[in-house]
């Protein structure tokens, strides 16, 4: 009965963006599969709430705004040796081209692309990643599936995908794997700017007839962190209820 190829027992896993949505669900699922977690986000109250929803008590949290180098350093210095990293911190801003400014673009690229890139660099350079560690980036179908007003977000996730592939190749000789998950729409705090009626219309585009749930993305993260995927690197895993089929 104890056979479980997806077990995360004995693995230390860092999850960014763990105070909400997909990051929170990921922290919870990983704890259920035996991982020891370090969770991070900006909002301490919601991080505590995530901790309280997790199985076992050996986990820790680090409150940090990763847009600033102080925040990034604070996090990196608080980390033990890691067997897994999940980059889930991210923001969405929909702006038609006319409204795209340098400031908006810089802010979105910073959180969705530069932070995961720099964090990965620090973890590798400081030898915090153990040999055979698995890195998971939460990208989006938006990286290549266009939707109106989504220019900046699409570009940030496209950059993230390319970065992931470069890292996968460069770190392969160290035994470190990198993969990305591309979810379709999942109802989280990220989607509050979209009205319910707009959502209803949008759901018609999903062959499986609904949006995803955070835990459905989290389970794919577990898969990529586990030893079941030891021969998998540089892959984009799409989980979108069939949205991009047609």
């Amino acid at each position: 009965m104890s056979y479980n190829p997806f077990s995360l027992k004995g693995k230390n896993v860092l999850v960014t963006g763990a105070s909400s949505g997909i990051g929170r669900a990921t922290a919870i699922e990983c704890s259920r599969l035996g991982a020891k977690l370090i969770i991070t986000g900006r909002n301490s109250e919601r991080l505590e709430e995530t901790l309280s929803l997790m199985e076992d008590e050996a986990h820790s949290m680090v409150v940090a705004d990763l847009s600033y180098s102080e925040g990034l350093n604070l996090l990196v210095n608080a980390l033990p040796q890691l067997d897994g990293v999940v980059h889930s911190a991210g923001v969405l801003k929909r702006l038609p081209l006319k409204f795209v400014t340098e400031e908006n673009l810089a802010e979105l690229m910073q959180i969705n692309f530069i932070i995961p890139a720099l964090l990965t660099r620090h973890l590798y350079k400081k030898k915090i990643l153990s040999t055979d560690a698995s890195i998971v980036f939460i990208s989006s179908v938006a990286s290549s599936f266009a939707s109106l007003g989504n220019i900046m977000y699409m570009a940030s996730k496209g950059a993230l995908n390319s970065f992931m592939k470069g890292v996968a190749l460069e770190l392969a000789s160290s035994g470190i794997r990198a993969n990305a998950i591309q979810p379709g729409m999942v109802k989280t705090h990220l989607t509050v700017l979209i009205s319910d009626s707009e959502i209803e219309k949008d759901i018609d585009c999903y062959p499986l007839g609904r949006y995803g749930k955070p835990e459905e993305i989290a389970c794919a993260v577990v898969y990529l962190l586990s030893d079941a995927t030891k021969w998998m690197t540089g892959t984009l895993l799409t989980i979108d209820g069939g949205l991009t089929l047609r």
Binding site: R94, L95, P96, K98, F99, L148, G149, V192, L193, I194, S195, D196, S197, E198
Partner: protein, 73 residues
């Protein structure tokens, strides 16, 4: 505020005539589509530093409603 807003509103939706008034139901305008919606939200954020979330915006029917929503914040 009203006059300035109507000017910005017309500019955002690229409306050239005088068809926009306080009681205009903006969703009925021929220029209204999802890009117009995003542009309007972006214009209000940029000009008034107000972010109207989807479910609040849904309740606004006329141009005047949008102005009162901005003034409320």
């Amino acid at each position: 505020m009203s006059e300035k807003f109507i000017e910005l509103f017309k500019e955002t939706l690229e409306i050239e005539d005088d068809s926009v008034q306080l009681n205009t139901e903006f969703r009925k305008l021929s220029q209204w589509d999802s890009l117009a919606f995003l542009s309007l939200i972006a214009m209000i954020d940029e000009e008034y530093d107000v972010v109207i979330e989807g479910n609040d915006f849904k309740k606004l029917i006329t141009v005047g409603d949008v102005i009162s929503e901005i003034e409320k914040r």
